[in-house]
């Protein structure tokens, strides 16, 4: 069975088929024989035919896989070739003109008002999350078009806070 694996901005063609107790894979040009031994709800041992292995912890979200191994975390997206050709991985479009909350939290203080001219790095507001006050600063020079959050409000990660215009 053929897949496209996306990992660290790379698309790698992968082929998987059952073989005995394990699997035979083709990753790019490389052929690999390995087993993925189930060990409880979230753990697997990726065991190669020569005995080398990695104990992995995994989390699946649709076609997105988060693999933790050797204390590190890897993100891999697996698509079947068609959907990959169609959509491909959806990259979040970063819109520099809207400043968003990078973490869930509570707005402690808003430091700017619509119309203010701000310079890159200038504090826009203070977001408190888990007992830390975090200053959210302007990503670039500009004028404050609108303030989209008010002091005291609780915001989710990614919520718009301030909109800038040139």
């Amino acid at each position: 069975m053929k897949f496209i694996a996306r990992h660290e901005e790379l698309d790698i063609p992968v082929e998987v088929e059952r073989l005995g107790v394990g699997y035979r894979l083709r990753v790019g040009e490389k052929e690999i024989v390995a087993d993925l031994v189930a060990a409880g709800p979230r753990l697997r041992a990726l065991r190669f035919a020569d005995g080398r292995q990695y104990l992995i912890l995994y989390h699946r979200d649709g076609s997105e896989y988060r693999i933790t191994l050797a204390g590190r975390r890897a993100h891999v997206r697996i698509d079947d070739p068609l959907s990959a050709r169609r959509g491909g991985p959806d990259q979040p479009v970063s819109d520099a003109s809207v400043v968003k909350a990078m973490m869930p939290g509570r707005i402690v203080r808003v430091l700017v008002s619509p119309g203010d001219e701000v310079r890159r790095g200038q504090g826009l507001l203070i977001l408190e999350a888990m007992k830390m006050e975090n200053e959210i600063s302007a990503p670039r020079d500009g004028r404050v078009a609108s303030v989209d959050a008010e002091a005291g409000a609780t915001v989710e990660s990614g919520a718009p806070l301030v909109t800038l215009e040139s």
């Binding site: 697997r44 990695y54 896989y65 975390r73 007992k131």
Partner: protein
């Protein structure tokens, strides 16, 4: 005694464990966000004291006392943070006829104000960091000091502590904004906006001394803890003993700590913090009149249960050990495991713990505040547990910690584990060469959680097989005879490949 634990999270759990071992029933208090928190579900009794915000629950003295009277609790353990260093709370407990498991309200009050404590320690002949002797009314007052002492300087809330309400100021032009900021934090966190300034000690190390006293005048110290490694003035890794403190220095700094404690008639467990410069000159910084977050490293090295001793002392019992009997026997390291994403500038990562397997085996201790299936709330400190490794030498303790970090498996939220794995593998850390600025420089030169080609390939293969299984949902035949032959075949293929 029936003990109400006026706290939450891992420290409440730690205290409940000690009470249970001593045979004392426990009462937990919890906010609405903590109905299913570990401390709330494991105590013998649990009382709801209000909505999620601490100001409406864990900081509400009235509701805590109500919970105590309602459940018939006879003693209160404050843990750390929240009301632990609030003299009025300690007094209120005593007035309500409850045993307060901690020092006297007077001791707390004396150390509660940095300005006040600095004055008293100066009198007592303990070296203090040069700085303003009184509160600064405006940023101009500080400017005057900064002008003479020279920048950078440190702005501090007199009522501050635990890394909150302090800020380094590089030059006079940053002063006004910083002054405002620290004052706002001082007001919001400590309800006291008195702030002052201190000279910066160059390449400082944070060395703190654990003291333990009873109500009969016995007072000992349990050596020092190395707390130099901090991020945003928050300790991240603590050790006992310090790699730069030898027995002679330990005796000197220990004596200084006892002098500090005696000056305020201290009993119970307490911690005296010092700043130490490159020439091993140390200056009194503050005294924490409570149990310290990092107390376990001292417990592992000195073999003493500090919470048990706190409870015994509060009950009026005398210490069971003398200064001559206590010696550092091993080396211990603590990593505070937080729900934060080291890859995203340590942004908080609240959420549900979908999977949790903690490290086990020799020399590993995990003081946990969470469990599998628990939803880490947004409202409180994001510490999940304190992981402690101890061994005969510092090097062995570090290697043991690395082993334990690797065994610490958690899914559903991000944690600081990858950061610690990188830090403890760093050669400069392993050599013990660092000051309070180390973490920032380390982060600047380190790519945390870098994936080697092997690891990337392994991840891709694993994900691909998992995806394949999704499409098949086929189960593996387990008839052993057959399997054994299949595996042999697999072997054959493997050999052929090599």
């Amino acid at each position: 005694m029936k003990i109400l634990v006026a706290n939450r999270g891992e420290i409440a759990v730690r205290v409940i464990r000690a009470c249970r071992e001593m045979g004392f029933p426990t009462v937990a208090v919890y906010s609405e966000a903590d109905r299913a928190a570990l401390h709330a579900i494991m105590a013998d009794e649990a009382v709801l004291i209000g909505p999620a915000p601490s100001s409406e629950s864990y900081l509400r003295v009235d509701r805590l006392l109500e919970a105590a009277s309602k459940t018939g609790a006879t003693a209160v353990h404050p843990g750390y943070g929240f009301l632990a260093e609030n003299a009025d709370f300690a007094q209120a407990c005593i007035d309500a006829g409850l045993t307060f498991i901690g020092p006297s309200p007077e001791s707390i009050r004396a150390m509660g104000s940095k300005l006040e404590s600095r004055r008293r320690m100066k009198e007592a002949g303990v070296p203090i960091v040069p700085g303003l002797e009184g509160a600064a009314a405006s940023w101009e007052d500080v400017a005057a000091f900064g002008h003479t002492a020279g920048y950078p300087i440190m702005l501090k809330a007199s009522a501050g502590g635990g890394g909150k309400g302090m800020r380094q100021v590089e030059s006079e032009k940053d002063l006004p904004a910083a002054f405002e900021r620290v004052r706002s934090e001082a007001k919001s966190f400590f309800g006291d906006d008195a702030i002052y300034a201190e000279k910066i000690v160059e390449q400082p190390r944070h060395i703190e001394v654990q003291v333990l006293g009873d109500q009969h005048g016995n007072l000992i110290h349990l050596g020092e803890r190395e707390c130099t490694l901090q991020r945003r003035h928050q300790k991240v890794v603590e050790e006992c003993p310090s790699p730069v403190v030898d027995e002679a220095l330990r005796e000197r700094i220990g004596e200084a700590a006892l002098k500090v404690a005696r000056a305020v008639g201290y009993y119970s467990a307490g911690t005296v913090e010092f700043l130490m410069d490159a020439d091993s000159q140390f200056y009194f910084l503050e005294m924490n009149t409570r149990l310290q977050v990092e107390h376990p490293v001292t417990e592992e090295v000195y073999g003493i249960d500090l919470v048990r001793e706190q409870i015994r002392v509060a009950a009026g019992e005398t210490l069971t050990m003398t200064q001559q009997e206590v010696h550092p026997r091993r080396h211990a390291i603590e990593c505070r495991i937080y729900a934060e994403a080291p890859y995203r500038n340590f942004a908080p990562s609240p959420g549900r713990i979908e999977f949790l397997a903690v490290p086990q085996g020799p020399g590993v201790r995990n003081d946990n505040g969470v469990y599998e299936g628990y939803e880490v709330p947004l409202h409180y400190d994001p510490m999940l547990s304190k992981l402690v490794a101890s061994a005969r030498t510092r090097e062995q303790a570090i290697d043991r910690m690395l082993r334990a970090l690797r065994e610490y498996r958690i899914e559903g939220i991000e944690t600081s584990i990858p950061f610690y794995s990188a830090l403890l593998s760093d050669s400069e850390f392993r050599e013990g060469k660092f000051d309070t600025g180390f973490i920032d420089s380390f982060l600047a030169r380190t790519e945390i959680g870098h994936l080697s080609e092997e690891l990337s390939e392994a991840s891709i293969i694993s994900a691909a097989i998992l995806a394949f299984e999704e499409t098949q949902k086929a189960t593996i035949p387990m008839e052993s005879g057959i399997e054994w032959r299949k595996a042999a075949l697999l072997e054959g293929i493997a050999r052929a490949r090599r």
